[in-house]
């Protein structure tokens, strides 16, 4: 065994010696045979001829000798590669065109696959990310679907060890950070339950807080994201135990997260959500994520949660009529959101592009192999096996596609940079896109696959090389011409068919995009700009806030080039919604007197004008509505239709925490995601304003 191995290794490294020895040995045989034949009375010429005939095809036996030494695979590959390189160098134009074609075809796939991988397959560098599920709630009875859980129900699910190893969640928040040199706004995640455990994340520095820190009073602790720690503290290891002033409350820094952990995206700081607050108990704002038990999968889990939903609804006092349902779906799928269908379509499209590329390259190679017919025929006549020629054709094709694959990586790198640079803020998921080892591997596999595919047709052609005809150099007969023609026109048909599919797909996608762009959002999107400020915490007591806002509003309205300005707590399409229950005074409705849901946002009177939202009935807010006056609100058309029907809503009182009198009805807004069902909403006047929009 060892001896065999050594001789094999020796032969691989002393390849040329092996060939030389073999040549010498066979030549020795032929020479000796010739001598013997001459001695038996033949003329030298005749003897040489006879010796060759008796020996048989030299090339064939040389090949068999190599086979016998089991050097074949390595040997053949090296030889075929050398041959391919020679052929390709000899036809630079052909080589360049095929390589560029392949690079583009494969590169499109590399680019899209890296996005698919970053968004759909592995958005976080977490092992076992496929074991994470997101639980959402649907309240179809209210026309509300796909919203988060409350902090309370997240904590309850964290207690379900029969379903989850760990369960937790987060809700977005933002703070004014005032204890550092300059006041700044930072974005935060309020977490509930075993949030960090769910992602198997450990502190990079210090420690992480636990679910117990949700208790009121204990909740003034914070964990920093790695990026924020670098940015705000320059990576100072002494930050642990220091205090941060967030909205004028002092939070103790417990730890720093590792660099790789970036979920949710763009979050600077993590704080526990305080228990026993309205937000904790009522707002369905928590994105709840669970690490599923190893003996469970998503489908039975989803079924189990669905079965339990009525029980949960009863526990939380949600009327049965709302049809409260808990729904579980894979985390990766949830995280990808609307990008998922788009990416899948794109993946299909680039797959077709690659197919077309292969067909193109196959056609090019086929044309060229026709020019090589005679060469092939000569080699077959000399005893080269057809299989060897087929192999050579395929090696040549794969060589082309692998070089093309290298070009594809360059294209992929460029595309990934472009995606990161131009990704809309709405899709922070795209930040995870990278050209990693998996993408590299996929590109390699794809390149080889493309090479094999594109080499198939020329290889088939080689199988059928007609030795006689080609050697006789006869005019190409009608039959070969026809056959050749058939193969080429077959390729052309395939190409046209694929292109047709692609064009149809593109047109459909374009139409969809067009519809999304022109869909009526209920407000103007042109010439509207927005900015965000936070005036929260004890420092901004009620009256200074009102004063501040009034002044800001005034100054903006008078500002140069500004047509209208207004403020709101949640900007439409910003993704943040504040869905909570409300009641209509004097209408128990038999629905447990509670739990009608609507998104609520607080706005200034200029908001509607700035956003171009029409007032349909009643009146706008006026100066008299501020401070001390009874709280008033506007509702949108959809809410009016859903809960008041033909009744006139003006003058009625609704309450989302505090009662407010309806003074008017405005046009409905598209909420959150374009293309989805609108949710009814009411709008009240209040002090804690976070967003401003103005029209210029």
């Amino acid at each position: 065994m060892l001896r065999k191995f050594r001789s094999l290794i020796g032969d691989i490294f002393r390849r040329s010696r092996f060939e030389r020895d073999m040549t010498e040995e066979l030549q020795f045989h032929l020479d000796r045979r010739t001598e013997d034949l001459i001695a038996s009375g033949l003329s030298p010429e005749e003897a040489t001829r006879r010796a060759r005939i008796e020996f048989g095809g030299v090339e064939r036996y040389r090949e068999e000798c190599r086979d016998a030494r089991r050097l074949q695979p390595v040997d053949h590959l090296c030889r075929d590669l050398r041959y391919a390189a020679r052929m390709l160098r000899r036809n630079p134009a052909f080589t360049l065109i095929t390589i560029v074609t392949l690079a583009l075809g494969i590169g499109a796939n590399t680019a899209i696959f890296s996005v698919v991988r970053g968004v759909l397959l592995r958005p976080l560098p977490v092992d076992g990310i496929d074991r994470l599920v997101v639980v959402r709630s649907d309240l179809p009875g209210l026309g509300v679907v796909d919203v988060g859980l409350t902090g309370l129900s997240t904590t309850d699910l964290n207690g379900r060890r029969d379903l989850f190893e760990h369960f937790g969640g987060w809700a977005p928040d933002s703070y004014n950070l005032t204890s550092l040199n300059q006041p700044q706004r930072i974005s935060a995640a309020q977490t509930v339950g075993d949030f960090f455990e769910v992602f198997w994340v450990r502190a990079h520095l210090g420690s992480l807080y636990t679910p117990e820190h949700s208790q009121s009073g204990r909740h003034f602790v914070a964990v920093l994201s790695h990026g924020f720690w670098q940015r705000a503290f320059g990576g100072d290891r002494g930050v642990i135990g220091r205090k941060l002033e967030l909205n004028a409350q002092r939070y103790e820094i417990l730890g720093v997260l590792p660099r790789e952990f970036r979920y949710p995206r763009n979050v600077d700081i993590y704080v526990p959500m305080e228990r026993d607050t309205r937000q904790y108990g009522n707002a369905m704002a928590v994105t709840a994520i669970g690490q599923i038990r190893p003996d469970l999968t998503t489908t039975p889990l989803a079924r189990q949660l669905e079965t339990e939903s009525p029980g949960w609804a009863e526990k939380y006092g949600i009327p049965q009529a709302f049809g409260f349902t808990l729904r579980a779906l894979p985390f990766t799928r949830f995280n990808a959101g609307q990008l998922r269908p788009v990416l899948l379509v794109l993946l299909g499209a680039v797959g077709f592009v690659l197919l077309i590329t292969c067909v193109n390259v196959a056609g090019l190679q086929l044309l060229r192999s026709l020019a090589q017919q005679r060469e092939f025929a000569v080699r077959v006549a000399l005893g080269a096996g057809r299989w060897a020629l087929v192999r050579q054709t395929i090696v040549q094709s794969v060589t082309l596609s692998v070089v093309g694959g290298v070009g594809a990586l360059a294209i992929g790198l460029f595309a990934v940079e472009a995606v990161k640079k131009f990704a809309p803020e709405k899709y922070p998921q795209l930040e995870a896109v990278d050209l990693d080892a998996a993408v590299l591997l996929a590109t390699g596999v794809l390149a080889i696959f493309a090479g094999l595919l594109a080499g198939l047709a020329p290889a088939l052609r080689v199988m059928r090389v007609n030795v006689d005809e080609n050697l006789k150099e006869a005019r190409r007969s009608a039959t070969t011409g026809a056959r050749r023609h058939r193969l080429l026109s077959g390729l052309a048909v395939a190409q046209t068919a694929l292109a047709l599919v692609l064009v149809t797909g593109s047109v459909l996608m374009f139409r969809t995009l067009e519809r999304l762009l022109t869909s009526d959002l209920g407000f103007h999107t042109n010439h509207v700009v927005s900015m965000e400020i936070t005036l929260a915490g004890p420092r901004y007591a009620r009256s200074p806030v009102i004063g501040f806002i009034r002044e800001l509003d005034d100054r903006l309205e008078r500002g140069h080039g500004i047509e209208a300005a207004g403020m709101t707590s949640n900007l439409p399409l910003s993704g943040s919604a504040n869905s909570s229950p409300f009641t209509i005074t004097g209408r128990p409705d038999g629905l447990g007197a509670e739990q009608r849901h609507a998104d609520m946002r607080m706005v200034s009177s200029g908001f509607f004008r700035a956003m171009g939202i029409p007032l349909l009935r009643g009146r706008m807010f006026s100066a008299a509505d501020i401070d001390g006056a009874p709280l008033v609100c506007l509702i949108d058309k959809q809410l009016a239709q859903q809960f008041f029907g033909n009744e006139d809503p003006i003058g009625k009182e609704i309450s989302q925490g505090r009662p407010a009198i309806i003074i008017g009805m405005v046009g409905s807004l598209s909420h959150g995601d374009i293309g989805r069902r609108r949710r009814p909403r009411s709008t009240t006047r209040s002090s804690s304003i976070r967003l401003i929009a103005w029209r210029s």
Binding site: D21, H29, R33, G56, Y61, A68, R69
Partner: protein, 113 residues
């Protein structure tokens, strides 16, 4: 011209081993030895000898060495290894059994069945 027979598959290896067992030979010498010991009755295409030799060498049944031929040219000589000798013995026995069995079978008459 003596009547010639095609080689049965697998017999070339045995013939080579037998030829080499009588002393180290180069490829052409092996061919001549086979023709000689078979009385010229067995023919092979001469080139076919070499893949067989290379295979036997890989199997460790033959050893090779470069030396000078009788005409003083460099030539590759094949020699039987101990395991080659063992193989030759085993194959010879197997061959004899088959020949005996075949001969007996072909001699069978109707009344013996």
């Amino acid at each position: 011209m003596a009547q010639r027979a095609e080689l049965l598959p697998g017999t070339l290896d045995l013939l080579i081993l037998k030829a080499v067992s009588l002393g180290a030979l180069h490829g052409y010498g092996i061919l001549l030895r086979i023709e000689q010991i078979s009385g010229g009755a067995l023919t092979i295409e001469q080139g076919a000898l070499y893949p067989a030799l290379y295979r036997l060498e890989r199997q460790g049944l033959l050893d090779t060495e470069w030396g000078a031929s009788d005409s003083n040219r460099r030539a590759k000589f094949y020699r039987l290894t101990p395991s080659g000798r063992k193989r030759l013995r085993a194959e010879t026995e197997g061959w004899n059994r088959i020949v005996f069995a075949m001969a007996a079978a072909l001699k069978a008459r109707p009344e013996e069945v």
